[in-house]
């Protein structure tokens, strides 16, 4: 990736394993590979959508991006600076630049604290505000997410899911970050409220010039919000492309399957896999392409070797030896 001038966040060969090591009696503990080598780059001001089903490692990836978890291998760079260096210089440096919005809005608020205390924390510790300026800034933030300032003096249990998620967004904004990682920000919300939050997110992005990494299992939501989309399967990115291209002409058979499986209102007749296909065992990953066992296009080479892909900032590629919609321009 040479055209990196406006890249704000980049990961290279990111791996995260859990378990491993040895037990008390010397037996080997099983190792689970949650993330198995991920390269993604995000440009300033864009929304990168990451889509995948449960267990694909998307949440682990999200947690590593904001520093809540550390990669086993590989590294993350923020505008060219290594994340480890950034943290070792100043433990607040990372949180000032990249923030996180959680999936479950209610449980991301401390049930025994007023919203005021929750919202003041990042302003106080990351931005060093206090007194009147802190107060004024909190009002601004509540205003930005369309909540009344008197809501500051309430407890989380007094809020609906949608309101709580707006507070979660306000807290992320409080740090004045460049990037916000949104981990399934609307999947815990009712459909009629989802749209409110999605519209708010889109407005805030324009208003504050934010960069989003939007993680979701819901293809239609990702399609609606993303400039570029990466599809994850079993710890790897299997396909990445500018949004339209990926949804119009998917190359990876898994992406095709995902698109075919999503029910659309007003349409009938999903195409469904024949077999009762399942994810591979994370304790014993298959040697080649993880999707090969449930792929109708799989051939001998698929189970022998892991297919590679070159993901740039504007191209469309899939980690597949026998892709659909063969490449014409690359």
């Amino acid at each position: 990736m040479a055209d990196v001038s406006d890249v704000v966040l980049q990961t290279s060969d990111l791996v995260r394993t859990f378990g491993g090591g040895r037990t008390f009696l010397g037996g080997k503990k099983p190792t689970v590979y949650a993330v198995r080598g991920i390269d993604v780059a995000v440009r300033k001001g864009e929304t990168l959508g990451i889509v995948g089903e449960s267990g694909c490692g998307k949440s682990t990836l999200a947690r590593m991006l904001v520093g809540l978890d550390r990669p086993t291998e590989g590294n993350i760079t923020l505008t060219g600076l290594d994340m480890n260096d950034l943290i070792s210089d100043d433990r607040h440096a990372l949180s000032k630049r990249i923030q996180y919005v959680f999936q479950d809005p209610i449980s991301s608020l401390n049930p025994r604290k007023l919203i005021r205390e929750t919202l003041a924390a990042p302003l106080r510790y990351l931005r060093g505000l206090s007194g009147d300026s802190l107060e004024a800034r909190m009002k601004e933030l509540m205003d930005a997410v369309n909540l009344r300032p008197e809501f500051l003096d309430r407890y989380p249990h007094e809020f609906s899911g949608g309101q709580a998620q707006r507070i979660g967004i306000a807290r992320a904004l409080a740090a004045e970050p460049e990037i916000i990682v949104l981990d399934e920000p609307v999947s815990a919300l009712d459909v009629s409220v989802q749209a409110q939050v999605l519209n708010l997110l889109s407005d805030l992005k324009d208003q504050f010039g934010l960069t989003y990494i939007f993680i979701s299992h819901d293809l239609s939501v990702v399609e609606a919000v993303s400039d570029r989309v990466a599809v994850m399967y079993f710890g790897r990115v299997v396909e990445q492309a500018p949004g339209r291209a990926l949804f119009d002409k998917p190359r990876h058979p898994y992406t095709r399957l995902l698109l075919d499986s999503a029910p659309v209102p007003g349409k009938r007749g999903l195409t469904v896999e024949d077999a009762t296909a399942e994810l591979p065992d994370p304790l014993a990953p298959p040697p080649g392409c993880a999707f090969a066992p449930r792929c109708s296009r799989a051939q001998d080479d698929c189970v022998a070797k892991v297919p590679d892909a070159h993901y740039g900032l504007d191209n469309h590629d899939a980690a597949c030896f026998h892709p659909l919609n063969p490449v014409t321009t690359r």
Binding site: S95, T118, Q163, A262, P263
Partner: protein, 645 residues
């Protein structure tokens, strides 16, 4: 941007709920109140003991030894050395209370600190600390205290230390468990990202949430600690003469049990009263602070929902080919002073081999409707207050418990949302299928097992013979849901009630399950009532669909009618507010505000506050459910244009 209007109506609909104060709740519990009063009395008396006109508890008077109670000048009599028993009792209670409370506080301080640190940091810290605690717990409780007293020598302070030490593991374990739960909650991560350090998180995020548990643990152990220190003194290892606590008084009394029974009866009764009052109060405190108990959620649900009908439906005609006809069903929940009208008059029917969808957001009453059909709503707090459910021409709510049980899993079967929590974790799936079969057929276990294996094959579980021996936790989510479906099919039901059966599943697995259900329905001629919030799923599987809002059906028709030509503004907006695959440029228009709370429903149309077409007459009186022709009906006085047909 519609969010601005959103906040205004949200404030209106969301009643600001004040938490009932803890003391008010405690006072409501009569037993706890009794305990509190007794304890307060005892504490008050022992606090003023030094200024009471009592003889010195340690002054002996051999001439007045072993006086019975109610003697002159000695209300409770005297002991073997002629000391006044009342005075000794009060001073002894003072000592016992002080020692018990101190021991609890010491144990709570050290135990909770270990528990919080261990639970929050986890990993190696946790491992080392908890192994140490395990070692302490490897000793039978009082034995460790005995060993410590043996080493330090008998004495009241040493007994206090010993009792405190042996209770540290109890606190550490309890508090660690709670802390682990809290430390993995998202708000702790959020605090980390807000720039808080570990110490600050421990003190300001974790501790406030752990504190109630610490208080509960203290309140439930103080009584125990008083008992144990009294026990050590009773054995002669605690308070040493001439100082006395209740235990040592009892110990002395024991030696004279045949001659002067009041010497043991009185201090024993005092310990009992003290501990009992503390336990009563402790239980009360636990009930107040434990959120699960507070909501009254621990009431045991009856096998059949309570039925207390004011009417039996509108008496609508039922067509011959209907399998299920629901007529003006109303189900309510009573929680405290509030009545939640979860289902407020729902009527629909399901024909033979038909799939009817029941669509709505959370709180719309769709699941309660489904559970009400065969009386599976938990009661308390649920009650069916009106309407009838005709299954095969008979009213389910007129049936006996046994008759309803015959239908459940027999002619009508359920498939639930989360297959992990809905299957019993301790029985193999084969065993659970066998149970379902044998509940309705007198067949041998062997034959039932063979049928169970066949059923597993029917829902396309690979290697059904060996899979039948698996436990639910050994299967994936999709496989578990197949088991759930197999269980529903066990007795060839005429109707399957599927309550969000694919919501917990990934899309690719959802597609598989939907296909399976569709195939089975066609093969077996089964009718299906399908509850979901997803219009995409509805299009995939349903013939007809009913849209629910705030406990009532607002629109019903064929899937095509409702999806292509929605008549109710809510249906229209609900369909429009979801991003649709393949139409990325369509800006989704959010529905402002929130659904009304079903304990505080507005007059007129429940959607009026969120509706941009609402008029004055929408807010008065009941809105009729009007037929637009061709079976398309809507509960709206201004249905959307182009919707008739």
């Amino acid at each position: 941007m519609t969010s601005n209007t959103a906040t205004a109506s949200e404030i209106k609909t969301k009643k600001r709920s004040a938490r009932p104060s803890a003391f008010k709740l405690l006072a409501r519990n009569q037993l706890a109140l009794m305990g509190a009063v007794i304890l307060a009395l005892v504490v008050l008396i022992v606090l003023i003991t030094p200024i009471l006109p009592l003889p010195d508890p340690d002054v002996t008077n051999p001439a007045q030894r072993l006086l019975p109670p109610f003697s002159d000048g000695h209300l409770l009599g005297t002991d073997h050395l002629g000391r006044d028993l009342l005075s000794r009792l009060l001073w002894g209670t003072r000592v016992s209370l002080a020692v018990g409370i101190s021991a609890s506080l010491v144990a709570a301080l050290f135990g909770s600190t270990i528990g919080i640190v261990s639970g929050y940091f986890g990993g190696r810290t946790d491992n080392i600390m908890m192994r140490g605690i395990d070692m302490l717990m490897a000793f039978p409780y009082i034995l460790l205290a005995l060993a410590i007293v043996a080493a330090l020598g008998p004495g009241l302070m040493n007994a206090l230390y010993a009792i405190a030490v042996v209770n540290i593991p109890f606190f550490a374990r309890n508090i660690r468990g709670v802390t682990v739960g809290i430390a993995h909650r998202e708000f702790v991560d959020a605090a980390k990202l807000s720039g808080k350090g570990h110490i600050r998180i421990l003190l300001t995020e974790i501790l406030p949430n752990v504190m109630p548990v610490i208080v509960i643990t203290i309140s439930t152990t103080v009584g125990w600690m008083i008992l144990e220190t009294a026990g050590l003194s009773f054995l002669g290892l605690g308070a040493q003469p001439p100082q006395a606590d209740l235990g040592s008084m009892l110990g002395e009394g024991r030696k004279l049990i045949t001659t002067a029974q009041h010497l043991s009866a009185i201090p024993g009764a005092m310990i009992f009263i003290l501990v009992m009052s503390i336990n009563l109060l402790g239980d009360g405190i636990r009930d107040v602070l434990d959120p699960r108990l507070k909501s009254g959620a621990l009431a045991r649900p009856a096998p059949l929902t309570k039925i207390d009908r004011s009417d039996q439906g509108a008496g609508n005609q039922i067509a011959d080919e209907t399998v299920l006809a629901v007529d003006d069903l109303r189900t309510e929940f009573v929680l405290g002073d509030d009545t939640y009208k979860a289902v407020g008059g729902v009527s629909f029917d399901v024909g033979k081999n038909e799939c009817v969808g029941l669509v709505g957001e959370s709180g719309s009453g769709k699941s309660v409707t489904a559970l009400s059909l065969l009386g599976l709503v938990a009661s308390p707090p649920g009650t069916i207050v009106g309407g009838r459910v005709m299954f095969d021409g008979k009213d389910v709510y007129d049936m006996s418990e046994n008759q309803v049980r015959d239908i459940r899993g027999g002619k009508a079967a359920y498939v639930f949302q989360d297959p992990l929590s809905t299957l019993h974790p301790l029985f193999s799936i084969g065993d659970q299928l066998v149970e379902a079969i044998r509940a309705h057929n007198a067949v041998s276990y062997r034959d039932a097992w063979a049928k169970a294996v066949k059923l597993l094959g029917m829902v396309r579980i690979p290697n059904p013979e060996s899979r039948a021996d698996n436990y639910p936790h050994q299967l994936s989510g999709g496989m578990r849901q197949r088991v759930g479906i197999a269980m529903a099919l066990a007795n060839e039901p005429r109707l399957i009630i599927a309550d969000e059966p694919t919501t917990a599943l990934d899309v690719t697995v959802q597609a598989q399950i939907l296909k399976l259900m569709n195939d089975l329905r066609t093969d077996h001629g089964t009718s299906v009532l399908f509850i979901t919030h997803d219009f995409g799923v509805v299009s995939e599987i349903c013939d007809r669909v009913a849209v629910m809002y705030a406990g009532r059906i607002v629109e019903m028709g064929t899937t095509e009618q409702v999806l292509k030509h929605p008549a109710h503004p809510y249906t229209k907006r609900l369909i429009d507010c979801v991003p649709r695959l393949g139409e990325p440029d369509r800006r989704t228009s959010a529905i402002p505000g929130l659904p009304p709370a079903v304990n505080n429903l507005p007059a007129g149309c429940a959607f009026a506050d969120r509706c941009d077409r609402a008029e004055e007459k929408c807010r008065v009186g009941a809105i009729a459910f009007d037929d637009l022709g061709d079976g398309h009906a809507v509960r709206c006085i201004k249905p959307m244009e182009g919707a008739n047909g």
